[in-house]
């Protein structure tokens, strides 16, 4: 059975329009592949050529302007065994340039037939991305001034495996299309043709002058690039097993669980029998979120509920990083902090972001890096010197030691319980480093507690 089911004369195109010739040639080229029609999908773009899907007896997909390349790539990725062919005009290549360039870069295995007639035929003969300089269109009445888009050079320069440009009147057009369809990777043929409704009458372009236009623009007909794509760029046809589709995955399926690391361990009960709110304010790069997250994980592993909410600017290794943790025996409905029990201040950025300390309650503890100036507060202020721990810990682990120190000196947990909980509950690649940090923070806090060396800041209490 022939893939193209309509005769050229029965197609919807204007008299003399080349689209029918292209469809006829493409149909013959596809027929030569002898593939069952259900293994082929034609994806048509928008514009006159976008109406062509109805003439094909295979799977067809007709979507939005310029986006045919993305649908085709999605189809090809999901079903690498299919032959996926895009029918697109010069207009579609203009509005969809990004997909053209990046599809070429990915060397996605789609086959693209560009029906390039240098203008928008369906909407009234406006100029397109490929309109030659000086050409008259309804939107360039004095002649186009923009440089015409070289589709072939663009995709060839960006990784496409097969790129060719041909004249629609080329006697070997079917051969050229067949070669393109058989080529692996991203393959494109840019076919120059005639729009007899608009471009031809305004610019006296005809069968003979397409070659002159090619010479004048320096865009030659023939093969532009043809090489085998790297193996890595090709979808592996039997790789995708997709067994999960019909019945889904259980929440404990290893394929799901690996996204969040190992399942929680059982740790000793932690002593937080009412809601406790903790904020750690530091700078990006100090691993503020990770440090407080470790405590949150221990709380969850011990059977408590926890919520950790973060505040950070758009910068990555610069600026404040403020993390807040709530732990509670009950489900946490509201994840905001209204009455922190503990505030840990680890940098100037963080302290500034945290803001006014004067509104804190008297029973709140503020554990602050000794180097940081802070404002008046009724809270209990406890200084610490985390820089002294840098000798014994990786720099990234200092914040966790500071958090452990702060939890203990604020009276939120006993040092030995914290260490035991960490021993039982920590897992993953940073277990040893984190364990060392927690033990160090807990040990330092014991020294601090024994020495009772709390320093009263202005307005604070010792």
């Amino acid at each position: 059975m022939l893939i193209v089911t309509a005769k050229r004369a029965d197609m919807c195109y204007c008299p003399g329009c080349s689209h029918g010739m292209i469809l006829e040639a493409l149909g013959k080229a596809i027929d030569r592949l002898c593939r069952p029609s259900h293994e082929i999908c034609i994806v048509s773009d928008i514009g006159c050529i976008g109406t062509a899907d109805r003439y094909f007896s295979c799977h067809t997909f007709h979507g939005l302007h310029g986006r045919s390349l993305s649908y085709a790539e999605g189809i090809k990725r999901a079903r690498p065994d299919l032959l996926v062919i895009v029918l697109i005009g010069d207009g579609g290549c203009g509005i969809g340039t990004a997909h053209l360039v990046h599809g070429a870069r990915r060397d996605a295995g789609i086959k693209i037939v560009v029906c390039n007639n240098f203008n928008f035929g369906m909407t009234g003969g406006q100029h397109s991305a490929t309109t030659p300089c000086d050409a008259k269109t309804t939107t360039t009445p004095c002649g186009a001034t923009d440089h015409p888009f070289d589709i072939c050079a663009t995709v060839a320069a960006n990784g496409a495996s097969f790129v060719a440009r041909h004249d629609v009147f080329d006697a070997r057009l079917v051969d050229h299309l067949e070669e393109m369809l058989r080529a692996p990777g991203f393959a494109l043929v840019d076919i120059w043709e005639l729009c007899t409704a608009y471009f031809v009458p305004s610019n006296r372009l005809n069968r003979g002058s397409l070659a002159e236009l090619s010479d004048r623009l320096g865009m030659p007909f023939g093969m532009i690039r043809h090489h085998l794509p790297p193996v890595s760029a090709q979808p592996v046809e039997d790789r995708r097993s997709a067994p999960i589709k019909r019945n889904g995955l259980s929440p404990n399926d290893s394929r799901v669980v690996r996204l969040t690391g190992l399942p929680a361990q059982t740790v000793p009960a932690l002593p937080w029998n009412t809601r406790r709110e903790i904020t750690v304010a530091g700078s990006a790069g100090q691993r503020i979120r990770s440090a407080l997250g470790v405590i949150g994980e221990l709380a969850v592993s011990s059977g408590l509920h926890a919520a950790q909410q973060d505040d950070f600017p758009i910068t990555v290794r610069k600026g404040f990083s403020v993390s807040s943790l709530i732990v509670s025996p009950d489900p946490i409905l509201y994840t905001g902090l209204d009455h922190p029990d503990l505030v840990v201040l680890l940098s100037k950025d963080g302290t500034e972001r945290f803001g006014d300390l004067s509104a804190l309650a008297e029973n709140c503890s503020v554990v602050v890096d000794n180097d940081l100036p802070i404002g008046d507060t009724p809270a209990r202020v406890i200084p610490m010197v985390p820089s002294a721990w840098e000798k014994e810990l990786a720099r990234e682990a200092v914040s966790l030691a500071a958090v452990a120190f702060a939890f203990v000196v604020a009276g939120l947990i006993a040092p030995d319980l914290l260490s035991r909980a960490a021993e039982a509950g920590l897992s993953g690649p940073y277990r040893e480093e984190n364990l060392r940090a927690i033990r160090l923070g807990a040990a330092q806090s014991e020294i601090e507690l024994r020495g009772c060396t709390f320093v009263a800041a202005s307005g604070g209490q010792s």
């Binding site: 259900h38 999908c41 899907d53 109805r54 007896s57 295979c58 799977h59 067809t60 979507g63 939005l64 986006r67 390349l69 993305s70 790539e73 999605g74 189809i75 090809k76 999901a78 079903r79 065994d81 299919l82 990004a98 997909h99 990046h102 592996v236 995708r240 997709a242 999960i244 589709k245 019909r246 019945n247 889904g248 995955l249 259980s250 929440p251 404990n252 394929r255 690996r258 996204l259 969040t260 399942p263 929680a264 997250g293 949150g296 994980e297 969850v300 408590l304 926890a306 919520a307 950790q308 909410q309 973060d310 950070f312 600017p313 758009i314 946490i332 409905l333 509201y334 994840t335 905001g336």
Partner: protein
């Protein structure tokens, strides 16, 4: 087993639980971790995950894949939802099962990339041209991000429609305690396969029916189109057929309204105050209700997990004759309260808003309720 995961992680797990096997996305705060989690989840080839050149290509690839039979997801934030716009219309017209997660952030435009906001609640409904409906769900925390993303796939599959799931920065990136095993889920729904015989891609027996599905690449040939089409997927200018296709797009969603209503009602008979909440404000509302009742106030509460279609039956039942005021806390300029004014004509609807990146606290809701209660009593 309790875990400590973000809303984004929960959404990914909900999607995988539902059988999602295709993901395409473009990096954007606060949705990026969904992309990287899917890249990791499908590294072994069990599904396809790709980072595309932009959000337009992301949703485009999802639509193409979905029509081969994949269960596809894309995720972004408000700026990306803007770029999805035209393709959401394509998914409506072509009847594509597709799930879109929008991790909302403070807007408009670039807005506050790392700041929370829930200003996409109307945009998510009216995101594309033409005026046809699609369901929109809103998570309140990590647990509901899991459940609703899962349920969104079932809705998408059953109704062959795009479904948008709303999260926001402080759900997407906040870690919470979740026990996924304990979360009740409806059975998995897969799109109805076409019966044997000649396949007509868009044929329905009655307007509210959903066309049976045959995949691109299957043995029976199928036609997909975003143009106005007849039952065969062929462009048509026949007004009877045009009317039938467009009526169907509306009717299939409305016929499923009762099934689509995911809500939670906590009603107190005779309560003069009703709080209606969704998204991030819901947790604060629950906390406020607990405190208010402990103080002797009678107050009812409705949580909306489905924002569209609007849960009119539930709302009309909750806003009974005893209800004098409806308080609607939301993290935008009061967008959904306006919709409720259309549905609930009688009780006074009071909008409680915050849009500076902070949360509405339970205390604010408590004060609002108590201030009104005092006003009522002083009027007596």
């Amino acid at each position: 087993m309790r875990e400590f995961i973000t809303g984004n992680q929960a959404a990914v797990r909900g999607a995988l639980r539902a059988g999602c096997d295709f993901f395409a996305g473009y990096p954007i705060t606060p949705a990026s971790s969904i992309l990287s989690d899917f890249i990791r989840a499908f590294a072994n080839g069990e599904g396809v995950a790709i980072q595309t050149e932009d959000e337009i290509a992301a949703i485009g690839q999802c639509i193409g894949a979905a029509m081969t039979g994949a269960k596809a997801l894309t995720a972004s934030s408000g700026p990306g939802l803007s770029l999805y716009s035209e393709n959401i219309g394509l998914a409506q017209m072509g009847e594509v099962p597709l799930v879109i997660v929008d991790c909302q952030r403070m807007g408009p435009a670039t807005g506050g990339a790392t700041a929370t906001g829930e200003g996409d609640v109307l945009f998510a409904r009216h995101v594309t041209s033409g005026g046809y409906p699609h369901p929109v769900l809103a998570a309140t925390d990590a647990a509901t991000a899991y459940r609703l993303t899962y349920e969104a796939f079932n809705i998408a599959e059953r109704l062959r429609t795009p479904v948008i799931v709303l999260l926001s920065k402080d759900i997407a990136l906040t870690r919470q305690t979740v026990d996924l095993d304990a979360i009740g889920l409806s059975p998995i729904v897969n799109r109805a396969p076409a019966a044997d015989g000649v396949y007509r891609p868009y044929a329905v027996a009655s307007p509210e029916d959903v066309p049976a599905f045959a995949p691109i690449g299957g043995e029976r040939l199928t036609r997909f189109t975003g143009s106005i089409h007849d039952e065969n997927g062929v462009l048509t200018t026949n007004r009877t057929k045009i009317g039938a296709t467009l009526t169907h797009l509306n009717a299939k969603i409305h016929a499923a309204e009762a099934w689509l209503e995911h809500t939670e009602e906590d009603l107190e008979p005779g309560a003069p105050t009703l709080i209606v909440s969704y998204g991030l404000a819901d947790g604060a509302a629950r906390e406020a209700v607990r405190v208010l009742r402990a103080r002797g106030h009678r107050v009812s509460h409705v949580t909306l997990y489905t924002l569209w279609p609007i849960a009119e039956r539930v709302l009309l039942r909750a806003a009974n004759a005893a209800v004098e005021r409806v308080i609607v806390p939301e993290l935008n300029i009061g967008l959904y309260a306006d919709e409720l004014r259309r549905v609930l004509r009688y009780p006074r609807i009071e909008s409680l808003t915050r849009y500076d990146g902070g949360l509405i606290s339970p205390q604010t809701i408590i004060e609002t309720v108590e201030a009104g209660a005092h006003r009522e009593s002083s009027l007596c």
